[in-house]
Amino acid sequence: MSRATLVVLAKEVKDNLRDRRTLMSAVLFGPLFGPVFFAIMVSIMLTRTAGQMDEPLELPVAGAEHAPNLVSWLEAQNVDVQPAPEDPQAAVRARRHDVVLVVSPDFAERFAGGEPAAVRIVADSADSRAARHSARARALIAAYGQQLAQLRVLARGLSPSLMSPIAIEEVDVATPAARSVLILGMMTYFILFAVLIGGMYLAADTTAGERDRGSLEPLLALPVGRRELVAGKLGATCAYMLASLAITLAAFTVSLRFVPFERLDMVANFGPAVAVRALLVMAPFVLFGASLLTVVASFTRSYKEAQTWLSLVLVVPTLPIAIASLYAFRPVAWMMLVPSLSQHLLITELIKGEPVPAALVVTSAASTVALGLGLAWLATRLYRREAILG
């Protein structure tokens, strides 16, 4: 690194440290938003899911008098049997109840005759929140039916095991850490977001901002090569992005401790050791991101325009991850060539606590650095254009 590059780097770091807006976004809001928001969101989600399993199911039953045994069995299964509304369908449609059970008047008669006795479950399948409740009601009634069937078979002198020709036994090989990936996999969005936010203001300030202030022209008139100037500016942007990355990872190790993963039999495998590895996996993306932001900012005509475009660029690295999550990819070699996707997959493996093949890490780093250098070269080319002066 040449002396001029270091001078530019040091100046840009100091200059932006004095800018409160940059500081707030780069080292405060950007990196801390993810860990705090994520922890709160996941805590609420986990608490609700865990809580719903224990809380009694509210189930209005119409015609309860026709099936007193069913009703008392339901009550024994932690169901809060309530009087039914006048018009069950209208009540469910109006979302006054999630699910209503209607026992037909001939229930007892058909039951005694050994015919299928009818009950009706009124639910709204378009209401995703209520779907869990109606599924629970359906499962309970099916279980009740199964239990009665076994009693009937037994009463005829046959073995109840005739009713279960196949025994299903499920073996879940997922570790508590791997189960948590369903939720922690989303973390990489926040990490990428923090990294890019960390460099956004610098990328705009050192290019379009410098031009708007009129300080670019005297700078370009100095006996310094354009490549050295761009390298210094990129270096400063990288420094802020690395700081942002380190802060966000550290904050995650703290904030995830407050999330009650154990309630769903999960473990958040994101201690300091994993965070340090994630930092190393993510570091090559810093150069790529800084170069990408600088190239985009160099195309724009003003600081304001640069900010608009850069906030759009924030979305770009999340696209490969979004597409990958649709297909639930496992890491394979070619995916390591895609920046952001490769980092996402590797960090996901780290959280699972599984050994990550060194070859994949090296491929990811090499490809991301190579693409980053390509973009840095492009940024230098853009600085050589006369149009850079606007």
Partner: protein, 243 residues
């Protein structure tokens, strides 16, 4: 010493500078005089190499600006039009930044900063951030910045813009001092009085071309005009564009 040889530059269909040739010798103040839009700024920007000429070239102390722009820039100090400072840096830090980029450092640079701060009367603002500076203060800091590496050649684009009477006087005194020290000073202006008061050599440009060159005296004699202003009008052939 700056020698300009047939410089041409077009932006699209606009021919901003056409076949401009002149020379600005050491120990002289040379003024580029012309109405707004005549191509003065473009000529200077070509000389300090932020623009590349379509045709022609120029030499700064014998160094070709097209073949070795970095070496040429080492020989010149530049005050561009509307030169901007870094608002979050102090006056001293702004000047120091350019000094460091010119390869200076350590005690020698700090001594040079003290010297320039005294020379341009910046002592009361040297440690203040540039954010709230007046136009005159900004111009003085930018001038100090342009001189930080003690260049042999100084290019100034409309340097007296935004300066008050005292600032203008200080600027003129500085330019004369540089002339006495044997430096080459080239500046552009559209203000007749300023050029008349300062220049040893005048280059009159209009519509991207050099229409007359010479000392004020020679220009008056050649056009047969009584004053420099009349000579200027006669040279550019139009009365418009004068202020």
């Amino acid at each position: 010493m700056i020698e300009v040889d047939g410089l041409s530059k077009s932006f699209g269909t606009v021919r901003a500078v056409q076949e401009v040739s002149f020379s600005a010798p050491d120990g002289r103040i040379t003024g580029l005089l012309g109405p707004n839009g005549a191509g003065k700024s473009t000529t200077l920007r070509l000389l300090y190499t932020v623009l590349r000429p379509d045709r022609g070239s120029a030499r700064v102390d014998g160094i070709d600006i097209v073949h070795d722009p970095v070496a040429a820039r080492r020989r010149i100090g530049v005050l561009p039009h509307g030169a901007g400072l870094y608002p979050n840096l102090t006056a001293r830090e702004n000047i120091r930044y350019h000094g460091q980029l010119c390869g200076l450092g350590g005690a020698a640079l700090e001594a040079r900063l003290d010297e320039l701060i005294a020379l341009l009367d910046l002592r009361d603002i040297e440690n203040r951030r540039a954010k709230g500076f007046s136009q005159g203060q900004r111009t003085r800091v930018a001038l100090a910045r342009a001189l930080v590496h003690d260049p042999q050649n100084l290019l100034l684009d409309e340097p007296s813009n935004g300066l008050d009477v005292l600032g203008t006087r200080a600027l003129r005194a500085l330019m004369r001092r540089l002339r006495e020290a044997g430096r080459c000073v080239l500046f552009s202006s559209h203000v007749m009085q300023e050029v008349a008061a300062l220049c040893d050599e005048i280059v009159i440009v209009a519509h991207g071309r050099v229409v007359a060159t010479g000392t004020p005296q020679a220009l008056r004699e050649r056009t047969g005009a009584a004053t420099l202003e009349d000579a200027f009008v006669a040279a550019i052939g139009i009365a418009e564009g004068l202020e």
